[in-house]
């Protein structure tokens, strides 16, 4: 049974505007590291934000871990979001907060309001955070402010924060496009290794096709809100690629 099942997903940001996603169907299996590729403006970011409802779909259905995402009320949605880790293109860290606090903020969904106001995270969360920071190679930077780190290091903080949630699904929104090619590759392989280690399925937006074929076992090609390709990485041909990127205007 798939972890995530999306049916006829439609999004428009306002009633008169254009449809950004125009009826998408796909599913993600427990073992998938699934890439979503496509030109700028194809709807990749919108798609990934629909899964945890940072963007509200205007039609269709999303079934995650067997639950209908679109039927959840605010409280249940927050409970569901705890199980979905997300890693962002621009890291989305709180710059004025320490690396440690940024990583611990991944536990907020599990922490009571009063505790979190005083930043009193349980002992085991603190230990887990230190462990993860060691795992991503940032043990020396625990108390630094997030904006004191380099791009690659910041994204590692983002990865640690997502894993703090002990997620059952990882959403990646262009995790490497703010990084240089060498560090992009490092970050992708770190994510792949950790996803394997913690046995988490991944849905990953990525515009770099080279990286997608290198790290992902499955590829979904998106063009102008419509799915143009869906299959294992090795079945993607040059012709598929050309179709996906056919509309790109230089």
């Amino acid at each position: 049974m798939p972890v995530l099942e999306v049916r006829d997903l439609r999004v428009r940001y306002n009633n008169t505007g254009p449809e950004i996603l125009r009826g998408l169907d796909f599913s993600v299996e427990a073992s998938d590291f699934c890439a979503v590729i496509g030109p700028s403006g194809a709807g990749k970011s919108t798609l990934i934000r629909c899964i945890n409802r940072l963007v509200e779909p205007s039609g269709g259905s999303i079934t995650l871990f067997g639950e209908d995402m679109l039927a959840l009320n605010a409280r249940d949605l927050r409970r569901m979001r705890r199980r979905i880790g997300m890693i962002f293109q621009e890291f989305n860290l709180v710059n004025r907060m320490s690396v440690m606090d940024n990583v611990l903020s991944g536990r907020l969904g599990y922490t009571g309001s009063l505790r979190s106001v005083f930043r009193l995270f349980p002992r085991e969360d603190v230990e887990k955070a230190l462990e993860l920071l060691a795992r991503v190679g940032l043990s020396d930077h625990v108390n630094k402010r997030a904006d004191a780190l380099s791009g690659g290091q910041r994204q590692r903080v983002g990865i640690a924060r997502a894993l703090m949630q002990q997620p059952d699904l990882l959403l990646l929104d262009e995790p490497t496009s703010a990084l240089d090619p060498k560090i992009s590759r490092d970050v992708m392989s770190l994510i792949r290794d950790l996803a394997r280690e913690f046995d988490v399925p991944v849905l990953c937006n990525i515009h770099d096709v080279q990286l997608a074929t290198e790290f992902c076992n499955r590829i979904i090609g998106l063009q102008d809100g419509i799915k143009k390709f869906d299959g294992p990485t090795e079945t993607m041909q040059k012709a598929n690629m050309e179709e996906i990127y056919a509309m790109e205007v230089l």
Binding site: R78, G85, F88, V94, L108, G109, G158
Partner: protein, 282 residues
């Protein structure tokens, strides 16, 4: 023309461009002219006599020299007056502190990007802050004096309302200008609205808030000197009495005290905020 030229696509005709497009330029300058004409008409309506304007300053000087000089500096050392100065300072600190504390949650509600609820809390926060701002601090004083009588308590409440309006507006402007990316990330972890505020919003606005709070106190202190005039406690009371009893030299002394204290508060708040500005860039 060679055949090769025929094959390359012909460049489109160069687009027309002018610095002064026809209807827009005319409208813009007409509007500007309209505003200037209105201003000129308003000045004319005031019936300003240049002679009187120019004469005002020498006459002001003469009156100050005749009636207000020399200031009764001895009064400044009057025990009760000194006490009232202390009270004024206390009032400004209390009013500022209460006002700032109440303004923070209201500013949170009144910020469109992170408010608890766009149709309930947002209008509530906006209206509260607007209401506090809409009514001048002297009117607040008169209202509270009417309800709870003369004295510092009325003055502190009036200053609190004033500070809610003043700080609340600046706070919510600051919150609305934050970077929303960390907020998005925190929401995606399943954090609730209070947690998003504490972790995503406060760290971004903390230093600005401290700066605004100092500024609020500075402004509250200036307002506190006047609040007493209407019965709200503090040195303003002595100013009122001296004015009504036509003790002009005493009025002069009190005014000099106010000017000195306001200058000091401005220097102090300016110095503190400048130190913060360095922090803010770091």
């Amino acid at each position: 023309m060679s055949s090769q030229d025929m094959n390359t696509p012909r460049p489109a005709a160069p687009p027309q461009w002018t610095r002064f497009p026809f209807p827009e330029t005319l409208i813009r300058y007409s509007a500007l002219l309209g505003v200037l004409v209105f201003l000129a008409w308003s000045v004319h309506f005031l019936n300003l006599d240049l002679q009187r304007v120019l004469g005002a300053f020498p006459r002001l000087g003469a009156i100050l020299a005749d009636r207000y000089f020399p200031p009764e500096l001895g009064f400044i050392l009057d025990q009760r007056f000194l006490m009232s100065v202390l009270n004024t300072i206390q009032m400004s600190i209390l009013g500022g502190a209460f006002g700032v504390l109440l303004a923070i949650p209201l500013a949170w509600f009144a910020s469109h990007n992170v408010t608890l609820h766009r149709w309930i809390f947002y209008p509530f926060g906006r209206l509260s802050i607007m209401g506090c701002r809409a009514i001048h601090e002297t009117i607040w004083t008169i209202l509270f004096v009417t309800v709870i009588g003369f004295g510092m308590f009325a003055g502190v409440l009036a200053l609190t309302m004033f500070c809610i309006g003043f700080a609340g507006k600046l706070f919510s402007d600051e919150i609305e200008a934050i970077d929303m990316k960390p907020v998005e990330a925190l929401r995606s972890t399943g954090a609730g609205p209070l947690q998003v505020f504490v972790f995503g919003v406060l760290p971004q606005v903390k230093i600005a808030f401290v700066g605004i709070s100092i500024y609020t106190w500075d402004v509250a202190f200036r307002a506190a000197t006047v609040v007493g005039f209407f019965g709200g406690g503090g040195m303003g009371w002595y100013l009122q009495r001296a004015t009504y009893e036509l003790q002009s030299t005493r009025v002069a002394a009190i005014l000099l005290t106010i000017i000195a204290l306001v200058s000091i508060s401005e220097v102090v708040s300016g110095w503190l905020r400048q130190r913060l500005a360095g922090e803010r860039l770091a």
